[in-house]
């Protein structure tokens, strides 16, 4: 089974405020507020860690969910975020431009 890699799009602006992660698309200025799961996914999306490892080590640690169900939900979420250009997804590791780019300030 192929693994999925996720990476933050460095061309979006992101801020965390009082535990709320907000992201604005640089393309069309659309504002997104991420829920807890999406925030974990965003923060872990380094392009190098496979999604299943993110789910196992971050999401399943945070929420009491079955790993298989959590991975399915995370893949759906990742594709949703990718459809808005918030993250990139690939079956190969995704090289990142430079440390810090696109991260929450």
């Amino acid at each position: 089974m192929s693994r999925l890699y996720v990476a933050r799009n460095p061309r979006v602006a992101a801020r965390s405020l009082d535990g709320e992660m907000m992201i604005m698309s640089g393309r069309d200025s659309t504002l997104f507020t991420l829920n807890k799961t999406a925030t974990i996914l965003w923060q872990s999306a380094d392009g190098a860690t496979p999604l299943d490892e993110i789910v196992e080590h971050r999401i399943c640690q945070e929420f009491e969910v079955e790993p298989a169900e959590a991975l399915h939900d995370a893949e759906t979420l990742a594709r949703e975020l990718a459809s808005h250009d918030i993250i990139q997804i690939s079956e190969e590791p995704i090289p990142q431009p430079s440390p810090g780019a696109g991260e929450a300030r």
Partner: protein, 271 residues
């Protein structure tokens, strides 16, 4: 031998909004009259302008094409386009051109856009909000159409100086912010006073059955401010600047919800 060409007289004036002098040049005396009337109170001295536009006044075309507003940048030159105007502006040379008919609305739109571009690079912004000065401090009252911007402006007592009932001009200054008067009007159709004051608070307007001020969480404050910012540029770098400016603003300026009934007692809570 008689002259075969005659030099066309170039007319100009300076429109100073938010302390930014913009010179407008035209050869059309009627258009100059329109501008003098439209921007009375915001006409600056004839000194050096920070931005200079040559306006080519064209003949009307009907119907005006409905193409929306497009603001893009390429190689340091901004292109501003809507159904009723076409403009270019190059910040490096401070110069630009506008093609429009002889009306006050098109140049008004161009000026709003240009000011958003200037402010976005300095941590400031234009916002859908009324603003006013009381006791030496300024206050913003933000909300979508129908939220009560014009109503709260209309209810202001005599000791309040109205800066605008529609579009507020906010500039970052030192560790805080300053609100400036604008000629951008809403339903009140009354130009703001061309003065400024340090910004003390942003109120998000809501109409209700009593007058009260409630704190709101920082995340909601940032979201609400972002929803009320004027921004037109299709430019990722400026979008990011604007986004971070909004968060910077809510970290420095108190943001609350102002619920009010439409009578003047609401002003007892302000200032």
């Amino acid at each position: 031998m008689p002259e075969l060409t005659a030099e066309v007289e170039r007319l100009s004036l300076v429109i100073a909004i938010g302390g930014v002098p913009v010179r407008v040049n035209t050869t059309d005396p009627a258009f100059l009259d329109i501008l003098q009337d439209r921007y009375a109170g915001f006409l600056g001295s004839s000194g050096r302008a920070e931005i200079e536009f040559d306006v080519e006044v064209t003949a009307p075309v009907y119907p005006v094409p409905d193409i929306g507003v497009h603001v893009t940048q390429r190689l340091g030159r901004w292109s501003l386009q809507a159904g009723d105007f076409l403009a270019e502006w190059e910040p490096a040379s401070r110069a630009g051109r506008i093609r429009q008919t002889a009306n006050p609305y098109s140049i008004d739109a161009v000026l709003r856009i240009v000011h958003t571009l200037v402010l976005a690079q300095q941590g400031g912004f234009l916002a859908h909000s009324a603003s006013a000065i009381r006791n030496g401090k300024s206050f913003l009252f933000a909300g979508v159409s129908g939220a009560g911007k014009t109503t709260i402006s209309r209810l202001a007592p005599p000791d309040v100086t109205l800066l605008t009932d529609e579009i507020s001009y906010v500039r970052k200054q030192d560790a805080g912010y300053v609100a400036y008067g604008t000629p951008f009007t809403g339903e009140l159709a009354k130009l703001g006073e061309n003065v400024s004051a340090p910004l003390a608070a942003l109120y998000l307007l809501a109409q209700g059955s009593e007058n009260r001020i409630d704190p709101i969480p920082p995340g909601e404050a940032a979201r609400s401010l972002l929803a009320n910012l004027l921004f037109f540029a299709e430019d990722e770098e400026l979008v990011q600047s604007m986004f971070h400016s909004a968060f910077e603003f809510v970290s420095r300026v108190p943001v609350s919800r102002l619920t009010f009934v439409p009578d003047s007692r609401v002003w007892e809570l302000i200032g």
